[in-house]
Symmetry: C2
Subunit: 446 residues, 2 copies
């Protein structure tokens, strides 16, 4: 069911009642400015609703999880929030009890300035692991950003910039649509770049199937003025994340900080009852909108992954189970040899079937089909049918894998399990960026 939504400017402040701003407060302690925004990427933002919100969240399933994630897991469970404070430049991960105290203090400082209860403030962090949060800078930053809150597209752009680490561009989406006869808005910002293979759950607890492997962290913050009960907001966010952020991989590394938060303040004035006991149509509409926004944002993360040239949408069909299809897709999408062949524009089906063969999924060599299409197209050029090369020429196949985005179709022909994975190539730039330069520690990644 394809739906079209009207796009809006202003991402997280497109919905009624939300304000934001972003400032530079030198959280990386580069020591290169006295809090001036000039020439420095912003590194702290507040996202604030004028009314209390229902809230939903999903968090990394990494067993090593950052202090802000621990704080959010507790607070999202309570179902109400009104603001989020987020920094880049420091992950506040592997920082022990002091780190947990710092994360809570960030919310307390923001709550005081905003006149909220600390428990109604959420927190997100991304950056280097294992470094104590520079709380003086954070306090100064919150004091600086709070008076700047506003709801123009420029404000939203500053927030989107403030959460970036190795991202080369801010990532924003907003749409509007009708719900219960009212116009409602849904917006979001996110960041990614490296350490990207999220596998998030509502509690941070590990699901039965742990993705094989995410690090710059992905963070996504979503806002809506729809009026929705937290008890249905959470499962809707889980579905949307399962189809988007949990379906991307840049490098197969799962971060300690991955976080998706959704705030719904109800100011659009749709009947809460109608959503609490939603008509099938209303729920479907909101779910479709949420899926759309999450997928747009997730795809932007892969597209802007560290050193990424090509993005490949893997479409695995006919696996024995959906879990098998997922495992097969991740094995291919995280294989260094497959990823370098994508970078080289080499339609190397040998590496693909090799990666299928060592995946945990059941594979039968002489049943495997492998082919390519333009993104979203059903016109597939098959390179392998039933384990045997087709008549497609090397030149034809090269042409199919030449675009910066294409679909890779894999049919295992063993059952009905399906999976999609949005994956990236592996380039010299990725390696160069992530090896950094120890002589200049500011170049070292998370």
């Amino acid at each position: 069911m394809k739906r079209s939504f009207r796009n809006l400017e202003g991402s997280i402040v497109a919905p009624l009642g939300f304000t934001t701003a972003g400032v530079f407060c030198d959280i990386k302690r580069l020591g290169t400015g006295k809090g001036s925004d000039k020439g420095q990427k912003r590194d702290l933002t507040l996202i604030v609703s004028e009314a209390p919100c229902t809230v939903a969240g999903l968090f990394t399933t990494n067993q090593v999880c950052a202090a802000p994630v621990k704080v959010c897991v507790e607070r999202v469970r309570q179902g109400t929030a009104q603001a989020i404070v987020v920094n880049s430049g420091n992950a506040n991960a592997c920082t022990g009890r002091p780190g947990l105290r710092d994360a809570r203090n960030m919310t307390a400082v923001a709550a005081k300035i905003l006149g909220l209860q600390p428990e109604h403030v959420l927190v997100g962090s991304t950056g280097r692991i294992g470094v104590a949060m520079p709380m003086d800078n954070v306090r100064a930053g919150i004091a600086k950003v709070a008076p700047l809150l506003g709801r123009t597209p420029e404000h939203a752009a500053h927030a989107a910039e403030a959460i970036m680490t190795s991202d080369t561009q801010p990532k924003q989406v907003a749409i509007e649509f009708k719900l219960d006869g009212r116009t409602v808005r849904l917006g979001g910002i996110c960041k990614g770049a490296g350490m990207i293979q999220p596998g998030m759950s509502a509690t941070g607890a590990r699901p039965a199937a742990v993705p094989q492997g995410l690090h710059a962290t992905m963070l996504a913050f979503l806002t809506t003025d729809a009026n929705i009960d937290a008890r249905i907001l959470q499962p809707m966010l889980e579905e949307a994340v399962a189809l988007s952020f949990n379906r991307i991989t840049v490098d197969g590394d799962m971060s300690t900080n991955d976080t998706v938060l959704l705030l719904a303040n109800g100011l659009a004035g749709n009947s809460r009852a109608a959503v609490r006991k939603p008509t099938a149509a209303a729920r479907r509409t909101f779910q479709a909108a949420l899926n759309h926004v999450c997928l747009q944002l997730a795809y932007k993360i892969v597209r802007d992954g560290e050193g990424v040239h090509r993005v490949v949408t893997l479409r695995v069909q006919g696996a024995r189970s959906n879990a098998d299809a997922d495992a097969a897709a991740r094995s291919v999408g995280n294989s260094p040899l497959v990823k370098t062949s994508w970078h080289g524009g080499d339609p190397n089906w040998g590496r693909i079937i090799d990666a299928l063969g060592y995946s945990p999924a059941t594979i039968v060599e002489d049943k495997v089909d492998i082919g390519y299409s333009a993104t979203g197209s059903k016109k597939v050029l098959w390179s392998l049918r039933r384990g045997q090369p087709t008549q497609a020429t090397f030149q034809e196949l090269c042409k199919a894998v030449a675009p910066t985005e294409f679909d890779l179709h894999i049919r295992l022909n063993l059952g009905k399990g399906n999976a999609i994975l949005y994956a990236a190539d592996l380039t010299e730039e990725y390696v160069d960026f992530n090896k950094g330069n120890v002589a200049d520690p500011t170049t070292l990644g998370g």
Copy 2:
């Protein structure tokens, strides 16, 4: 129990009764020579014993496995062999029934020239997947190589060269030691480079725990003049491979062709009975020798992996189980972010604990110790103790990870599970090599 062995020249022909040779027969069909060895890397070898041998073998557990592997699995089970024919330049993988026929034909052609039964000839291949074996070239090559068989170190060097693909240098080891009062010899050659994370078993059937992920293929061929019954040779080879070839990773990709074969022709004259019902001492001695040779060869594969600058020996201790320790080690050793940090000389424990956290192994953040030592040294510089950074300075840690080889010590402090993994860094050269150049298909990897 450390033992010292006397090193010999001549690798696979150091043991009595073995001959070899290597020739160029243009299996890659470069078409650049008329079978001349001049300027062309050799690509076909025969390894021949003058007496029938007991045989043991281990093979890739990839569900997509090459034709030569299928042929060897059958023949090793019978327990007797006398020759091996091996080519590089073509993997004979994903080549269907014609490929299986070609693999058998290779053994038949060799058997005829050598005056052996085809079932006593084994076969190995490595190179591009999915390309029909150029049987005219193979036949010509076998006819060319057979008259050249000899047992000088130069002959062995030609064989070691003939099995290379992206390897930059041939890999050879031979030792002698006393067994049952006799001097016996054990030698081997191998090749690797990329698609290297073997997980081999005796039948190619998958073990309960499948390593997460091998491709240039690793091939290893071992010869000994010890007199040993196949029934004890196989379990001894399994132990040796479990401690060596199955403990290496270059890129986490498991090949379709990984093969280790061991031929024992008994010409040293030790009493077979003594080994069939071996004294504990004799068995321990041969096992130690086999472990030593396999580990030397396996380490050479990592050291010469595609684009590899640094080799890191991961020593995981204190996991809940050995399986957990193995999973933790592979998660770290295959993490692109950890591997690029090794390349950069960055002692980034954040990426290491992140990779531990998303591994299938149980990890408790505040119990984890991470440290470094010189290769094989017990003097560890700890960067993390119980999840907290130590007083070690960034400069001290940088110095610890600066050598081209070092040990990484990880203690999970949860149990008694241990594992070692020999892993490689990830460099721009790896990416550049494996992306190839589609305009020149001869540059494209397996």
